[in-house]
Every structure is written in C-alpha cells, then in structure tokens.
C-alpha cells in the first residue's frame, strides 16, 4: 500500500507539496517512485528561476522510463536538493524526506487547486482500473 501522508497536498501529476510558513517543498509521491522504479538520474530546475503551475521543471529518470516533473504551484525556485544529483536513489528510499526535489516561494499566498491525501488516494485507485 502506498504511503500518502495526510499532512501534505498533492497534484494530479504525482507531485507532493509541503507548506512551511511561506516556503513550499516539492517532491514526487511514493506511488510515483514506485511506478518509475529505481531512479538513476534527476534533473532539477535552475535556482532563482520562476516557474508557472503545470510547467515542466525537471526530469526523473529510472532504468526503464523518464518522466517530467511539473510544478504544482507558481513561484520562484529558492533551493534544489543537490544531494539527488549524486544520489538519485534517495527519491526511492525516502520520497517525502531526503528525496525532496526543490523548494519554492509561491507568487500567491493561497495555494489552490491541489488535492488532499484522500482525493489523491482516490485518483490513484481510479488510475489503477
């Protein structure tokens, strides 16, 4: 069973978002890393760049597939997880912790359009059928 923490928000494209004050941390979900398999490479957005919600801003590549990362919110990238450049497997091992991808400062205070853990869980279940 996939781990879907109640405290996080989710996008339909399998990213998770954690809010700490004004800063959002983004990663890919346990379900996403499970579907991709062992990651061998992660490409992250450029720090200090601005990205729009839904914009492609990186790539996660496993031994069998490569998937784009879409930004779940609009904002400015303030930090990327450089540890992933050498150790992409952190995303598999700890997708909600050490495997985070990037942090951004959203353009708008209110983060809208994301799914709750329950909604995301239902989405995965419906995709499975």
């Amino acid at each position: 069973m996939n781990n879907i923490p109640k405290t996080l928000k989710y996008s339909r494209t399998h990213e998770w978002v954690r809010q700490d004050d004004e800063i959002l941390t983004v990663g890919i979900t346990d379900h996403a890393q499970c579907m991709l398999g062992d990651l061998v490479y992660v490409e992250l957005p450029e720090p200090e760049s601005s990205i729009e919600m839904g914009q492609e801003c990186g790539v996660v590549e496993s031994v069998k597939a490569a998937a784009d990362i879409y930004s779940p919110v609009s904002g400015e990238i303030i930090e990327i997880n450089e540890a992933l450049l050498d150790s992409p497997q952190l995303v598999n091992e700890d997708p909600y912790g050490k495997g985070w991808l990037f942090r951004l400062r959203p353009f708008e205070n209110k983060v809208a359009g994301l799914l709750t853990a329950d909604q995301y869980s239902k989405q995965i279940a419906s995709e499975a059928h």
């Binding site: 490479y41 450029e46 590549e61 496993s62 031994v63 597939a65 490569a66």
Partner: protein
C-alpha cells in the same frame, strides 16, 4: 516475381475498411499548394541483369586510378580479412537491435568499438556511431547547446578551416534551432586558426568552439591553445578529427589543460573503402559528465544474476522510443556494418599498427613536399605542419591541370576554388600509405609537365 506484397484486391479491401476511395485520398490533408503537381518522370525500371551491368560499368569508372584526393574521404589499405569477416551473414544482415539483449554478439561488437574509439580519442565514452562525420559534428553542436541550456544565447564558433560540407550540414540543422553560427577566419600564412584570428571576431557568450585536427587543408591546428581559449570563454571544446591521425597526434581528451569535451568525425579512414562516396559512418565521444546528452545508442557491459558477463543497451531513457519529443536526438540507429568493419580493422592493427599507418601517410607527405620543391609552378601555400594533405597554388587553372593528370589516370586532388575562391587556383592533395615512391614521382612529374607546357587552354584562360 512481385516484390510488393499487396495485390490490388488487398489494397481495395484496406481502402474499403477505412472508408476511402483511393490511396490518393490519404494525402488530402496536405495543403494543395504544397504538393508537387508534375514530378519529373522516373526512368522505366531495369531488369536485374541490366541493373547489374549498369552498376558494374559505373564502378569501373573509379577503377585503376591513382587517387590523390583526400578532402574528408581517404584511401587506405584494408586487409582482405576485414570485409571477409564483416560480410558474414550474421553481421551483414544485423540491424540496430530492437530486442537488444537477444543480440549479445552485436552488442559485444558495438561495446568493443566504443572502447576502442573512446581510447583513441582519450575520452570516457563513445556512442555506437552516427550517420557520417558531418552529421556527427551537427550532433556534437546540438549536444553542447543542450549542456549549455542555462544560457539564452546559443553561439557556436566554427573555423573556416573546417570541412565546408560539415559547415553546410551544421548550418542546415542548427539554423532551425535558434543557434547562431560564427565563422572564424584562418591565418592566411599558416592555414590555421591563430590567437589573432580569434581576437578579430570578438564575440562573447560562446556555447562551443569547433576545433578541427587536422583541418580541411591538412594542417595541424594549435589544439592546446584553442582548447584552453574555449574553456576560458566558458565554452565547450569540440574536436572534429581524423581518427587515424589521432593514433599519432595528441588525442582530443589530452588537448590543453583539461582536454576537449566532445570529439567527433568521420570513421571512414578506419577500414571503410572509398566506395565512390559512401556509405561511411560518424563517431561521437565525450567526457563522462556529458554522457546523458550524448545522442544515439550506447552499449554497456554488466553481469547477470548468476554473475556472468552480459551486454545491454544502456541509458535508453534518453532515446526517442521512450523520451519521445524530448529525446537527445532522433537518432536511435547506427551504421552497424561499417562499425563492424572498423572494429575488425582496429583490432587487427592494434594501437601500434594504426600508428605505423599514420606515420607512413605522414612520411609519404614529406616525400611529396620534398619533390614539389622542384616544381616551380606549384607552391605549398600554408606553413603549418601537415598530416597527410597539403594545399598547392598552381600557375594554371586547377580544372585544366586535373584534366591533364587524368590523361595519366591520376586523380590529382580536390579543387578548392568553389569553396575558397579567395585562395585562387588552389588544389588540395593527399597522400596515404597506399602511394609508393614511384606513384609520388609520377604525380610530381606529370604535375610539372601540365604546368610548364604551353597550350591553348591555358593561354585562353589567362
């Protein structure tokens, strides 16, 4: 015997199934103004017997000639065993492996090829080959642009001493992708790019700098200086090299303080015959850091669950069947047969053998240079050291001299006038290890004859 599998009945059934009346209707969505109305008629078909005869007669036109033409394609001796082995059915009919791991033999051969090529270039990795030298350079340029994606401006410096065909191909491919190509002049005394010629162009924001070795004139560029200059600009250094020459000269990975980043070129000199112009193959190597942007197939070696050695296609996620529009290029194939020949050729020769052949080419060039001292009407125009090719300025029109030499079954060289009109009556001449002292004597004697004889054509041309 019909070679087309669909009968008229099959075609009609298929058209009925999808509900259209004719094959022509399939093309309805193409705007009418883009369609060619009247294609020039294609010649009526030949029978197999007629075709074989036609090809034999064409091939005969290239036989028995003493070839002093280089300019990107080079005549070398190829031991009989190379193509005898290459022509075995297992190699001859193999295409790029789709069910890859079922083709261990093909994969191992490509792996060995990559290992040899990477070691010849003194770089970490090689792909399994590309279409030809010119497209390999275009791919190297695109690769540098992807690696430099943080820069908004994509500017590539290409010296005019790079093969003109290569420059044309790069222009065709790069000009559609917002890549600016800047020509770098060469020094008219040396034939090479100098520090002064670099200062003259005075551009910044350079993505990559293409460094030919030897260059199109056969001259040896100051690769250390050029590589360090590129790196000082924050640009990638791309070596466009003759692979055989690299057995004797400093290889791209050793240029300057940090080595060139990418090396590419034409693989033909390594066991592939001239064959009236092709097919040839391109090679592309790079430092390990850049391997994810290296287009084409890459074969890796691994072990299976039982610890036995096996070969696999690796880093496939960057290729088009997985990455679709975002693939590193639309090349997922390789010139397998020619690479097979090259791999066998290189394994037969070994590093020592390759070095001996390269040295024999250079020795013959020195012999030619020496004998040309007595030909007052032909001047070697560039002072830089050369590998196996030089440029001569003639006192008579190049076309006329080539015609005169042809009377003695000599292909005298490559006429540079069309590509470098500013150089005047210039001819590029190449000597490989295939030329004997007698061949070189004959060339020099007949060249001298053609240049000193008074004749109508010459007077007319003047």
């Amino acid at each position: 015997m019909p070679f087309i599998p669909h009968t008229q009945q099959d075609v009609t059934e298929m058209l009925d199934t999808i509900g259209i009346k004719s094959i022509e209707a399939l093309f309805d969505e193409i705007p009418a103004n883009l369609r060619i109305k009247n294609l020039p008629p294609i010649l009526s078909s030949l029978t197999e017997m007629e075709l074989a005869r036609f090809m034999r007669e064409r091939a005969k036109q290239d036989e028995g000639l003493l070839c002093f033409i280089g300019a990107g394609a080079y005549e070398h001796h190829i031991p009989a065993v190379v193509w005898d082995v290459t022509s075995r059915g297992e190699f001859l009919t193999a295409y790029t492996p789709y069910q890859a791991e079922a083709s261990q033999g093909t994969l191992q051969l490509l792996y060995e090829y990559q290992t040899m090529m990477a070691s010849l270039m003194a770089l970490d990795v090689s792909n399994a080959s590309l279409y030809d030298g010119a497209s390999a350079l275009a791919e190297a340029v695109l690769m540098a642009v992807r690696l430099h994606r943080k820069n908004k401006i994509h500017r590539i410096l290409i010296p005019l001493s790079v093969h003109p065909f290569y420059r044309q191909v790069v222009k065709t491919i790069a000009s559609q992708q917002d890549i600016e190509l800047v020509s770098v002049p060469f020094d008219s005394a040396t034939g090479c790019v100098s520090r002064e010629s670099l200062e003259k162009i005075a551009v910044n924001d350079v993505t990559a700098f293409v460094i030919p070795q030897p260059n199109f004139f056969g001259a040896l560029e100051d690769v250390d200086m050029l590589t360090d200059w590129a790196h000082a600009q924050g640009a990638f250094a791309i070596g466009a090299v003759n692979p055989l020459a690299m057995s004797l000269l400093k290889a791209p990975g050793q240029w300057g303080k940090n080595g060139a980043d990418i090396a590419c070129g034409e693989g033909q000199p390594l066991g592939v015959p001239l064959a009236s112009g092709g097919p040839y193959y391109g090679f592309l190597c790079c430092k390990k850091d850049f391997v994810r942007q290296l287009p084409g197939r890459i074969v890796g070696r691994t072990v299976d669950q039982g610890g036995k050695q096996g070969f696999v296609l690796t880093l496939q996620a960057r290729e088009q069947h997985i990455r679709r529009a975002k693939a590193t290029s639309n090349i997922c194939t390789n010139q397998g047969l020619l690479v097979t020949a090259s791999t066998i050729y290189m394994s037969l020769m070994g590093p020592q053998g390759l070095r001996r052949i390269a040295a024999a080419c250079h020795h013959n060039l020195q012999l030619l240079q020496d004998k040309l001292k007595h030909v007052s009407e032909a001047k070697i125009i560039f002072s830089a050291a050369a590998f196996h090719e030089i440029v001569l300025r003639l006192s008579k029109p190049v076309e006329y001299v080539l015609q005169e030499l042809a009377k003695y079954n000599i292909q005298g060289g490559f006429n540079l006038k069309k590509y470098y009109p500013e150089l005047g009556e210039c001819l590029s001449v190449c000597v490989t290890e295939t030329k004997t002292t007698e061949d070189i004597d004959l060339f020099v004697t007949q060249l001298n004859e053609a240049l000193i004889t008074k004749n109508n054509v010459c007077v007319h041309a003047q």
